[in-house]
Structures are given as structure tokens and as C-alpha cells.
């Protein structure tokens, strides 16, 4: 029996929208069928009652990640997997890889190499189940005129035939996984925190969507789900981490997690693998032999907005 779930509403199952704002209503385009459509959880009570379905109290009363027992987590993951399967038909697998002892992840980015091709941006979107409409992207690449680092004069909306353009350089920015993270300090409900391996994560199922962390982040790294994300079933990445690329509900904040579902399993982040120029370097800062450690020790690295004291785990260098 198909269970109705609170974050979700099947596009054609509910005919109770009086306002006519649900764009999927009356949309008989087959290709759009089965789109993942997540309804506002808060609307659940309203929507669910008027649609004749029951609100899901398991989801409503779900506990914070850190206080759940392993048993409870298992149930939650199963519920989330079932939710996605019921609506899109895609079987996903939600895991919860743990931080490894003695590992401190860090990123280094070679600005001499980066040519602004933005493969990283797209690979990130595919890996992390980021919706296209409205578009959510974790990485922003800013095109800036040589001779200045005045970002206001740069643009993320560059679209030339070929990159790099003469006289320009390209500055990719994503979550810096700060050691002294302003977003973590800002969160009123402890829905976001720093893991022992240095990654700042969000419990998407605990976040209340106040967006104070967005105001607090000096790197514009956090994204809010203004609408229920819709992802084509064929685009869904079934290998999902609970704290990283699981499909987020509407009304919560999300961000780059250095692909922890990959990196904690010994793989590189998607953006690293996609980069054709070799500008991206990633590894364990605590390992003296790692590439990233050698760069930080031997190259003249710098960090963005050092004066704010955020102590990022994301270094830039020219080499």
C-alpha cells in the first residue's frame, strides 16, 4: 500500500489547490509526470486534510540527527528512501558515512589553472541532486578583470564562446567549511554544525528555514529551497548521504558538503573529478604526504576575506 508522506505531494493526486499556483496541476506532459514534488511540510496539515490524506507524524516529530539512535536513524532513512521511490519510482540508497579519525579535509584551488569552464558547477549539481528550476548551484564562478579583486566589478553571468577570456581571471567560490563558521554560530536550533573532519553539515530535517545562516555567511555559500525541488527521475543520483545529497525538502537551507558521501568513502568530490584543468586539489590536511598539505605548506596560499577570522578550509593559490 502506498503511504502518503508529509513532505511530498503527488502532482496529480491532489486537486485541492484553490489558488491555482501549483504549476503541475493540469499538466499532462508525460515527461513531467513523476517529477519529484515536495510540498511544504507546514502546509501538510492544511493540504493533507483537504486532500483527504493523513499528515505523517513520523516526519513531523523527527528528532535531531545527533539525538537519534542508530535504530531510529535507520527508520528515518528507510522512510526517506520509500518517499522518493513512491513518488518518482527511483530506488535510492541513503547512507550515513561517518567522519574518519585523523582526517581533516581541505580544498586548494589553483587560480592560474582555472579557466572558468564551470564543469565543476554542473558536476556538483548532478552529484548533489540540485534542481534546475529554480536553479540551485553550490559553486559560483566569478569572472573578474585582471588587476583587481573587486568582486562587485566581476560577474557570475559570463557567457562567452570560449573560456578563458583575455584579461580576465576566474574565481570559483563554494562553502569554505570554516573552522570558525559564522553560520554555525547563527543557527538558532543547532541544525547546522561542524563535523570532526571539518565539514559543516545541515540536518535538513531539523532546519526551520529562518535563513539567519544565509545572512551570516560571508561567502554566499548557503542556498534556501524557496520551492519544492523538482528533479527529473533520470537525473536523481541514487547514492545519497543523509547529511549531504539526500533530496532536500522545501523551506530549508542547504550547502556544499565536500561531497561527504564520496569523500568519507575515499573518493574525491564531484567538482574535483570534473575539473579538466587540474586547478582543484583536495585531500587530508592532517596527512603530511597529501597534495593539499604540501600546497598549503609550500605555496603562497591565501584565503578569501581573511580579515573576518572565519578560518576557512578552502585555500587559493597561484601555481
Amino acid at each position: 500500500m502506498k503511504k502518503s508522506l508529509p513532505m511530498f505531494r503527488e502532482p496529480d493526486a491532489c486537486s485541492c489547490d484553490e489558488h491555482g499556483h501549483d504549476h503541475d496541476h493540469g499538466d499532462h506532459d508525460e515527461s513531467r509526470r513523476g517529477f519529484l514534488k515536495l510540498a511544504a511540510g507546514a502546509a501538510t496539515a492544511l493540504a493533507a486534510t483537504s486532500c483527504g490524506t493523513k499528515p505523517d507524524f513520523d516526519a513531523l516529530l523527527q528528532k535531531h540527527y545527533k539525538v537519534m539512535t542508530d535504530e531510529e536513524k535507520k527508520k528515518v532513512f528507510a522512510r526517506l528512501e520509500e518517499r522518493t521511490r513512491a513518488i518518482t519510482g527511483v530506488k535510492v540508497h541513503i547512507t550515513d558515512p561517518q567522519p574518519m579519525d585523523g582526517v581533516h579535509f581541505a580544498y586548494a584551488l589553483n587560480l592560474s589553472q582555472c579557466n572558468g569552464n564551470r564543469r565543476c558547477v554542473e558536476a556538483c549539481a548532478r552529484e548533489n541532486n540540485l534542481p534546475n528550476d529554480p536553479e540551485i548551484r553550490y559553486i559560483r564562478v566569478i569572472e573578474v578583470d585582471n588587476g583587481s579583486q573587486h568582486l562587485e566589478k566581476g560577474t557570475v553571468h559570463y557567457n562567452p564562446e570560449k573560456v578563458p577570456q583575455k584579461g580576465k581571471f576566474y574565481l570559483p567560490v563554494q562553502c569554505h567549511q570554516c573552522d570558525n563558521a559564522p553560520c554555525v554560530r547563527a543557527c538558532p536550533t543547532k541544525a547546522t554544525w561542524k563535523e570532526p573532519d571539518g565539514i559543516v553539515v545541515v540536518d535538513y530535517n531539523w532546519c526551520i528555514g529562518c535563513r539567519y545562516c544565509q545572512a551570516a555567511c560571508p561567502y554566499h555559500a548557503r542556498r534556501f529551497n524557496w520551492v519544492a525541488p523538482s528533479i527529473e527521475p533520470e537525473r536523481i543520483n541514487p547514492n545519497q548521504g543523509y547529511l549531504s545529497n539526500q533530496i532536500r525538502p522545501v523551506g530549508v537551507v542547504e550547502k556544499c558538503t565536500f561531497c561527504l558521501h564520496r569523500t568519507r568513502n575515499g573518493r574525491y568530490p564531484a567538482c574535483y573529478e570534473a575539473c579538466p584543468t587540474g586547478a582543484r586539489k583536495f585531500g587530508n590536511l592532517a596527512d603530511p604526504e597529501s597534495e593539499v598539505r604540501k600546497i598549503v605548506e609550500n605555496k603562497r596560499v591565501w584565503i578569501l576575506k581573511e580579515e573576518l577570522g572565519t578560518e576557512p578550509r578552502f585555500f587559493y593559490f597561484y601555481g
Binding site: H64, K153, I208, R211, V227
Partner: protein, 420 residues
């Protein structure tokens, strides 16, 4: 105990009975409230995408109104301090109406937040014990603490005093006076914490200034008396409550002090931003003069400044402020000017440009305006009902042992007669 049981239904009954004007007024407000309710359910259904907010400007008019009405809530201290600290009898008669204004303003603030968060169904996560409050680091968590405290105090004090009066008993000082004094400090706290919430962010240089908290307090000290003058004029006229001229004189006195200081602080801020001329003044540049061709806000901030300066001149020149119409105009200009300063002048430009230098402008859309108007209407509705009941109890009309026609004509000659 029996009194307590009859107390609430009888208060409700009192709020339900009124003149035709009363019904028209409340009915109009109700229309706005219903419209806002529909708009909110639309928000919940579709997501906050229906607003004009974005990842660039992630807080909009809801938070701007929140900041303004925190000032109104704190402004209740303008009545509480002279009533209890300086024993001004003329003001003490009205102090309950001030405390209830705080209750209403705080309730409105809670609604502004509730309708602004992405997941109102998860607000219980803020309850210590079953959820987490991120103390002591999150200023938003502190805001929850101080707001809850201020709301409870301002519910308890007038609630207790009115109930005593309803039963015809003399209130015990120990039952409420400690809270009265605590609430004076707390009024400062709620506005300070709200200022710190913004000024504590290194990511937003426009807010990251120590002058923000004093500016908040002073502007609240200006807009609250202006609002109270209009409010008590209305109460005097419609509820036939005798508000003495000395009370209005006192409000004007506070206004005359707060308005020039507020302008001075704006000047200090402007100097710091523009004389230094670092890139950190980009938001100020955007606000006052526009930035890289984006110039939505300058017209608003210059209008607000013109309003505030005009109000200031009217209030400071005795010949002008003695003309009632001009005096009321000054109050309206003060309220509108300071409201604009808080929203268009503070919250929005803090997000423009964003920390990576992108410029995305924000103005609320019709839905957001309807929702916010509805919350303001809800505040007005609540306050009208509160004020009606309060005046009925204070004048002795509503008592445990049955109604009595205005027993103390000394203070309240004509009780707020709910004629017909």
C-alpha cells in the same frame, strides 16, 4: 476561582459588544486578516518562492516589520518608566494600555517570524527540552528567550492588575512590582538583542556597526511616543477615556529629545560610511545614491530623511507644534520615516550587494504586502479588543459582582459606553 472562570468569558463578551463604529472598524480589520490568512496558506502551499525574496536578499519586508515592531514593543517603556519610577499618576492610569501595546507588538513580531520561516511546522525545535536553543552563541536564540520573557511579563502584569480590579481587590505589590521593574530593563534588552542579531554579522559590513543598538533604541524612543499620541487621541475620542493633556505633553517632550538624537546618530553613521570611503560602504552607497546603476532605494531613504527632518522642525519650534494638525502630522511623519529607515533603510540594503559582490534588488510583491498588512491589522484588532476590555474593567463597568455605572467619575467621567 469562580471569578477566574467568569473572567475570560465576560471579557470576550465585552469585546464582542460595541457601537456601529466599533463593528465597522473591527470588520474592516478582519477583512485584512482574512486576506493575509489566505496569502499565508498560499505561501505554505507553494513555498516562499511566491515572495520576492531570493538567496541574495534572503530577508524581506517581514523581517523589516519585525525590527520596527520590536521597537514599538520596547516603546511601552515610555509609559512604564514614568508611571512606576517617577510615580506620574496621570500616566499610571494609562500604563496598562502601554503594557498591552507591548503584548500586541510582540505577538505581531512572532507572526512576522512565523510567516517568514520556511518551516513553521518545525518551530517547536526552538523549545528547550524537546528541541535545542543554540545558546549562548546564536543571537536568534537569545531573541527567542528575551521575547518569550517580555511577552509573559507583559501578559502577567496587566492580567493580574485587571483581574484584581475586576474582583474589586487591591493588588499585592509583590505580585507584580518586581516584574514591572524587570520589564523596564527587558524592554531595552529586546531591542538590543535584535540590533546585535544584525550587527554581530561580520559578513554584512553595513550592519556590523556598534551604533546599531543605540540607533534602534533611540528610534524606538521616537516612534513609540508618536504612535502613543495618535493611539491615545483615538482612545480619547472613541472610548471617551479621559487622557490628560499632561500625558500628551510628556510624549511630545520625549519626542523632542529622541528625534534630534536619532538624526544625529544617522549623521554619525553616514559620516563613518562615506568619509572613510572603503569598499565596505557599498551598501550605504547603494542605499543613498544607488550602485552600478541599481537605484531603487535612494528615493525611499531620502523621503524618510525628509519626513524625519520635517517632523523634527515641527516638534522643536513651539509655534508650529502648538498647532494640533501640525503636531499630528509630525507624529505621522515620524512613524512613517522611522519605519522606512528600518526596512528600506536597514534590512534590505544589508543584503545588497551580496558578499560576493552580486547586486540583486528587492522590493516586496503584492502578496508580501497583503500578508504584512494583515499582521498589522491583526495587531490593531487585538489592541482594540484589549483596550476596550481594559477600559471597561478600569472604569468599574466590568466587575465580578456585576456591572456598575461608572463608580469613580473622578478619573473616568464617561465610561467607554458600548452603546446599543
Amino acid at each position: 476561582m469562580k471569578d477566574l472562570i467568569t473572567y475570560f468569558p465576560r471579557m470576550a463578551l465585552c469585546a464582542l459588544k460595541g457601537s456601529r463604529t466599533y463593528y465597522v472598524w473591527m470588520g474592516t480589520l478582519l477583512l485584512f486578516i482574512v486576506a493575509a490568512g489566505l496569502e499565508w496558506s498560499h505561501d505554505l502551499h507553494a513555498g516562499l518562492v511566491v515572495t520576492n525574496m531570493s538567496d541574495h536578499v534572503s530577508w524581506g519586508i517581514g523581517i523589516a516589520n519585525f525590527v520596527y515592531f520590536v521597537g514599538v514593543a520596547a516603546g511601552a517603556a515610555v509609559l512604564v518608566v514614568p508611571a512606576y519610577l517617577y510615580h506620574r499618576e496621570d500616566i499610571k492610569e494609562l500604563v496598562l494600555l502601554g503594557e498591552l501595546l507591548a503584548v500586541v507588538a510582540v505577538s505581531m513580531c512572532l507572526l512576522f517570524i512565523m510567516t517568514d520561516v520556511g518551516r513553521p511546522d518545525r518551530l517547536w525545535h526552538l523549545t528547550p527540552g524537546i528541541g535545542f536553543l543554540n545558546l549562548p552563541t546564536s543571537l536568534l536564540s537569545w531573541d527567542v528567550v528575551v521575547f518569550t520573557g517580555y511577552l509573559l511579563m507583559n501578559l502577567w502584569i496587566p492580567g493580574y492588575l485587571l483581574f484584581s480590579r475586576y474582583r474589586g481587590k487591591k493588588p499585592t505589590a509583590m505580585m507584580y512590582l518586581p516584574f514591572v521593574f524587570l520589564s523596564m530593563i527587558w524592554a531595552v534588552t529586546i531591542h538590543t538583542v535584535t540590533a546585535f542579531l544584525l550587527s554581530g554579522l561580520g559578513a554584512r559590513p553595513f550592519w556590523n556597526t556598534p551604533i546599531l543598538a543605540p540607533r534602534f533604541l533611540i528610534s524606538a524612543g521616537a516612534s513609540a511616543p508618536a504612535l502613543l499620541i495618535l493611539l491615545f487621541t483615538a482612545i480619547k475620542r472613541f472610548a471617551k477615556l479621559d487622557v490628560k493633556q499632561s500625558v500628551f505633553d510628556y510624549f511630545l517632550y520625549v519626542l523632542r529629545i529622541a528625534m534630534p538624537i536619532n538624526l544625529f546618530l544617522v549623521g554619525c553613521e553616514v559620516f563613518g560610511e562615506f568619509y572613510t570611503g572603503t569598499l565596505h560602504s557599498a551598501s550605504a552607497q547603494y542605499l543613498y545614491f544607488g550602485l552600478h546603476g541599481h537605484s531603487m532605494l535612494p528615493k525611499f531613504i531620502w523621503t524618510a530623511l525628509t519626513f524625519n527632518v520635517t517632523a523634527c522642525v515641527i516638534l522643536l519650534v513651539p509655534k508650529l507644534r502648538q498647532i494640533p494638525r501640525l503636531m499630528y502630522l509630525a507624529c505621522v511623519l515620524t512613524i512613517v520615516g522611522i519605519w522606512t529607515e528600518k526596512g528600506m533603510g536597514l534590512v534590505f540594503p544589508g543584503f545588497v550587494p551580496n558578499p560576493l559582490g552580486e547586486i540583486e534588488e528587492y522590493a516586496p510583491n503584492a502578496g508580501e504586502i497583503i500578508l504584512n498588512l494583515g499582521i498589522v491589522a491583526f495587531g490593531a484588532f487585538l489592541y482594540t479588543a484589549f483596550a476596550k476590555v481594559t477600559i471597561a474593567i478600569q472604569s468599574g463597568q466590568l466587575r465580578a459582582d456585576g456591572p456598575r455605572p461608572a463608580p469613580e467619575p473622578a478619573h473616568e467621567p464617561a465610561a467607554p459606553q458600548a452603546a446599543e
